[in-house]
Symmetry: D2
Subunit: 186 residues, 4 copies
Amino acid sequence: MTECKTLLEIIEELSEDAEKVDNSQLEIVEQLITKAKRVFITGAGRSGFAARAFANRLMHLGIDSHFVGEPTTPSIRRGDLLIIGSGSGKTESLVTMAKKAKKEDAELATITINPNNEIGSIADAYIKIPGISSRDTATEKASSIQPNGSSFEQLSWLIYDSIIVDLIRITQQTQEEIDFRHANME
Amino acid sequence: MTECKTLLEIIEELSEDAEKVDNSQLEIVEQLITKAKRVFITGAGRSGFAARAFANRLMHLGIDSHFVGEPTTPSIRRGDLLIIGSGSGKTESLVTMAKKAKKEDAELATITINPNNEIGSIADAYIKIPGISSRDTATEKASSIQPNGSSFEQLSWLIYDSIIVDLIRITQQTQEEIDFRHANME
Amino acid sequence: MTECKTLLEIIEELSEDAEKVDNSQLEIVEQLITKAKRVFITGAGRSGFAARAFANRLMHLGIDSHFVGEPTTPSIRRGDLLIIGSGSGKTESLVTMAKKAKKEDAELATITINPNNEIGSIADAYIKIPGISSRDTATEKASSIQPNGSSFEQLSWLIYDSIIVDLIRITQQTQEEIDFRHANME
Amino acid sequence: MTECKTLLEIIEELSEDAEKVDNSQLEIVEQLITKAKRVFITGAGRSGFAARAFANRLMHLGIDSHFVGEPTTPSIRRGDLLIIGSGSGKTESLVTMAKKAKKEDAELATITINPNNEIGSIADAYIKIPGISSRDTATEKASSIQPNGSSFEQLSWLIYDSIIVDLIRITQQTQEEIDFRHANME
């Protein structure tokens, strides 16, 4: 058996980045989720796949959740929460959604490298992740053995899943309850 | 202005096929929908895109509907209804879903050219459409200026939408209520 | 057997609307497709499902086609064609895509009720369909037994498929060639 | 700033699991990818979202890749490779795809917890990951602070991305080439 050098390096990077994430930011998002009538999730490209995995787990917890753009996703309204995963914080289609959600008086949270950009600056809460977005170039502040965006996308998935672990504790769900809601026609 | 000859021929074919569809079969499916706790929709390929459009409209009517395989689609259970659009009636992945739904004691309806095939033969209700599925070859019984499957896919979309018109009447929805539920972050 | 009154009314409406579509507009779009290096397709909501069915058939014809937002859709560039299905012609996320495609020097075509709106006004070609978009209200000019948007969405699907029939003739494809490219793992 | 205890625990688990993955298995899959005419990717639920992120990056590298079930995914044939991400290794819809791919004489690789199950046992190559699948229950051999399946899904994403880093090196891609192919209409 030979060691997966690249894989271990990626995880080491994630570990270092994770230490710079502030748990109090996660707790605020967790409160917004438990308070929300419905939770809408979005993200473009690979950030969107991580976000879909989060929407799926929220459904497993019995939370009324929807990924934006799916066939049965309804309109967002006051009392709902929109969570946007966007490294750059300025993807145009997502900025449009952020503005529309705020116009409807919904709550807005975002996971981003750049909380000062368009989305973060109108959000009610944000989780700041270190990294280089797929729309930026590597700087002295941040470099990676991976293509731009990858470490953000990975860490956003892991943060979503750590929020799930916290929410299971908060809402006192059992593995049986989670399994019961899991898709059963695959 | 020149006439769209191909388009008009396609519609003429649809019109002839539509005359062979039995409305009492639609009414049974409409009753299953109004009775169901939740409605799950599925279909592969182009039949699946028609089916997604139907799932979307059911949501507009306030019906708890889900397209199978989407991020927030939960498990199907007793009291739920699964609707499968399948021209051939024997697409393997859909046969699997049909069996799993029946095993959970959910109701099963299908729109198909071949109600005698695997899916139709275990369904609680079916709507039979004339045509050639993408898995069959043209016979004397049916021919089309279009590639195999196309007329089925089109007519399934139109039947879904005629069910919607009927359900709007039955559930007495207004255009305002439908618009209110329409996705608003596009 | 009882007649499907609603279904036949829908088809009658489609037939009347189809007579108002100008075939020379379809021919221009067909030329853009055969000339294009790659064809990108998009549309929101139900118009997007009709557009996906079109992207699927273009692939069956051996045309390098991509639906915008799918996991393996690449960047659009000069020499490529973007086709947008949008009844209103002003859906914000689609307007953004139209502008980005033009900025990359790609060709732009649209199927729309309103060719004078944002998308149509920067398009290289358009196909005008009569109807009421899901963002408009019924006027004296157009009314339908269906919810707003439905007849546009249906007719856009049928126009796409009539373009496919024309392209099969133009590119001299056989049913066997089409079947060979059809997804075979379902 | 407070530490993200749950997040760090998740990453610690991933790190321990990653040490049990055999790099020679990754290298074999990397060779299959570089040799393949086209690469097809699939996975159900959250494993499928991780797999879509992989399909996306393969496209960025200029590899002809397709996620199964997308609108423009063609038929799989001899010379192509199918990669299935499945923790359990026995999800029915995926077993069907595995068999169909082998019947077409395509190559088959899988990332799984259970290489002895249906998919792994007919695969040409597999990458074994430690963990508990969403279809299993925790055993003495493996336990997690997370719901079943989560650590597999996370680690499959990270393994996919480490394969990407290796493939960038092997195919000598630059960040500019990767950026050039990145979707540009979002």
